[in-house]
Each structure stands twice: as C-alpha cells, then as structure tokens.
C-alpha cells in the first residue's frame, strides 16, 4: 500500500481529528489534512489530490452522510474511498451509509486495531478491483 496516500480527516471535534491523524501516522500514513465538517471538506475535495477520506457523521453545517452522498454524486470524486468513523450506531444508519456507498464503518469508541483492520480491508478490495 502506498503510504504517501493523501488522506482527508473530517470531524468537528479537533481532539478526534488529532487522534485519527496520530493513529494513521502510527500506521505510516503521514500525508494527512483536516477539515472540521463536510462544508469545509467539500471544496478541499473538489480541488483534487485526495486519495482517501475518513469522516465523522454528526457534524454541523454538512454531515458526513451528506458529504459521502456528494462525493458519490460527483463524477470526478465518485471512486474516492470513504471510511466513516462515528458514534452513530443504529442499524438503519449503517444501512443508509452502506447504500450511500461507504467503504468502511467504524463505531466510536474504537481501537487502533479496528482502524488498521478496516483500512487493510478497504485497500485489499481496492487492489482486487484494480
């Protein structure tokens, strides 16, 4: 896996952005940037250059699910892998995210092991598809 992957971390809590950034750095992914909600993330993604998105669901302005739908609806971004890391843990929400085309779903609180597992799975599927 290319460790220089450019990753966008989207969460309204700066502590969680730092934690995810820290965990990703531990796994060797240091090329990360942050956005505090979907509204901030969207122009960054449109500007291009990102290879992966890690997003929260519940955020003011624009939620993670809306960001995911926007990504899938935009032809040049539609293939971008999106990992959702959220405290939202209702069955219908997971189904909604899956239907919207999420690549992985992590429920907070989570462990470093879970993050690694989900990333590995997403990368393995991407490699299969390629």
């Amino acid at each position: 896996m290319d460790k220089n992957l450019r990753i966008l971390i989207v969460d309204d809590f700066s502590t969680m952005r730092r934690i995810v950034k820290n965990l990703l750095a531990d796994l060797g992914f240091t090329n990360t940037q942050e956005a505090d909600d979907g509204k901030t993330a969207w122009p960054m993604l449109q500007a291009g250059g990102f290879d992966f998105v890690v997003t929260d669901w519940n955020m003011p302005g624009m939620t993670g699910i809306d960001l995911l739908k926007a990504i899938r609806g935009e032809p040049k971004l539609a293939g971008l892998p999106v990992l959702m890391v959220t405290a939202e843990a209702q069955r219908d929400q997971i189904i909604e995210a899956a239907k919207a085309g999420v690549n992985g779903y992590i429920i907070k609180p989570f462990t470093a092991v879970t993050l690694k597992e989900k990333l590995d799975k997403i990368f393995a599927r991407m490699a299969e598809a390629a």
Binding site: N22, A89, Q90
Partner: protein, 255 residues
C-alpha cells in the same frame, strides 16, 4: 391630584373608608376604628385570593390549551432522566479515560527508568573495558554488553511508543463526552424556552406557541439529514449496535 382619583370608583371608595377611619382615630373611637380597619384588610385579602384563583385557572387553561402540560410532562418523564443517564455516561467515560491515562503515564515512567538503567550498564561496561584494557576479553566483553543493552533500549523505546499511541487514543473520550454534553445543553435550552412560554401564558401576555423541542428534534435541527442518536448510552439508546454487529450487517449487505 383629586380628580383622577375620584374618577376611579374603587379608589374613591377606599379614600372614603380611609377618611372615615382617620375621623374615628381623631375622635378617639378605637373600637370602631379597629372594626373598620379589620374589614378593610379583609376586603383586600379577598381580592388577592380572587386574583390568585383567577391566575391559577388561567394558567391551567393556558397549559391545557397549548398542551404545555403534555410537553412538560414529556420533558420531565423522558427527556430529563435521559439527560441524567447521558451525563452519567460522561462521568463514566471521563473517569475511565483519566484512569487509563494515569496507568499509561506510570508505565511510561517505568520504561524511561529502564532506559536510564540501561545507559548505566553501558557506562559500567565501558569502565570495565578501560580497566582491563589490553586483555583479549575486554573489547569483546564491551561489544556483548553494548549489544545486549542496545536491544534492551530499542525494546523499551518500542514499548514507550506503543503506550504513547494508546495515550493519544485514550483522549477520544473528549469527542464522545462533548457530543453528549452538547445534546444535554440543547435540552436545557428547550426546557428554558418551555418555561418562558409558560410564564408568558400565565402572565396573560401574547402567547406564541413554540413546541418545546425534544433532544432528538434539537439534535436533528443542527445537522442536516435526519435524526441522529449520538454516542450509544446504555439505557438511553438501547437499539445501538456494536462494531461486530455493524461488521456482520455490512457483510450481509455485501461489504
């Protein structure tokens, strides 16, 4: 001054009664004064009771009319206990995080001490090599010591790194607690609004019916896109699933 007073029949009557009492006092007729005075006070008190009674009835009617009683009882029966459970959850996760952080700090302190001891071992090995300089074993002894100690230090550093990552991870409580506190703050605001509406209704002023929002509707009002549940709090969000359940569900859906 007298004209507006006399224009008010109640005031005019009160003035007349007070004048009569002053007259009685001046004439020294204490018994008659006491009787008049008691009657005067009683009339005032009866007026007060009537007013309180009317206000109570109006308040009751207003509450029924605006369904305030129903909204307030929902807040009292469900929302407030939910908020208490959510705050208990905040207390629990912050306590756990604090203990976890302190445990990890203690382990890191022990590891730094190990590294200090290891460097002392190297100093001692150097010293021995110096003392036995020229002996065929001095240099190889030093190399063995340094190798062993290096492995020890590398191992300690790896353990330190792992614990520092766990320390960072332990801070996730802030996000979860923060989300819960925001929801409870919204509830407190909705209770405040409900009480203000109630006061307005009781005061007989212009009543604008604003349905007090529940935690769910308040949470939904902020982010776009449906009702959000936030962190799973036992007893409050019983339908929340675990990571394993989520994985199983996604697997069913072909993920």
């Amino acid at each position: 001054m007298n004209a507006p007073m006399q224009a008010n029949p109640v005031r005019a009557e009160q003035l007349e009664r007070l004048r009569e009492m002053v007259g009685l006092l001046e004439a020294g007729d204490d018994t008659a004064f006491e009787a008049r005075f008691a009657g005067f006070v009683q009339a005032r008190e009866q007026g007060l009771f009537v007013t309180v009674g009317r206000l109570t009835r109006e308040l009751h009617d207003a509450m029924r009319g605006l369904s305030f009683d129903q909204h307030l009882s929902t807040l009292a029966d469900r929302e407030i206990p939910d908020a208490c459970s959510r705050l208990d959850y905040v207390a629990k996760v912050t306590e756990e995080a604090a203990h976890k952080t302190l445990d990890l700090v203690e382990q890191c302190q022990k590891l730094t001490q190990d590294i200090v001891v290891a460097t002392h071992d190297i100093s001692a090995a150097c010293h021995r090599a110096h003392v036995y300089a020229g002996s065929p074993y001095s240099l190889s002894g030093l190399v063995v010591s340094v190798d062993e100690t290096r492995d020890h230090i590398v191992n300690s550093a790896a353990q330190l790194r792992e614990r520092l990552s766990n320390l960072a991870q332990a801070q996730e409580y802030q996000d979860l607690a923060g989300q819960v506190i925001k929801r409870v703050t919204q509830l407190v605001k909705s209770v405040e609004r409900a009480l203000i509406d109630l006061l307005r209704a009781a005061g007989g002023g212009a009543v604008v019916q604003t349905r007090p929002p529940t935690v769910e509707s308040a949470a939904a009002a902020e982010p776009a896109g449906g009702i959000l549940h936030g962190p799973a709090v036992s007893g409050v969000t019983p339908t929340a699933v675990s990571q394993d359940d989520a994985d199983a569900l996604l697997a069913e859906l072909g993920f």
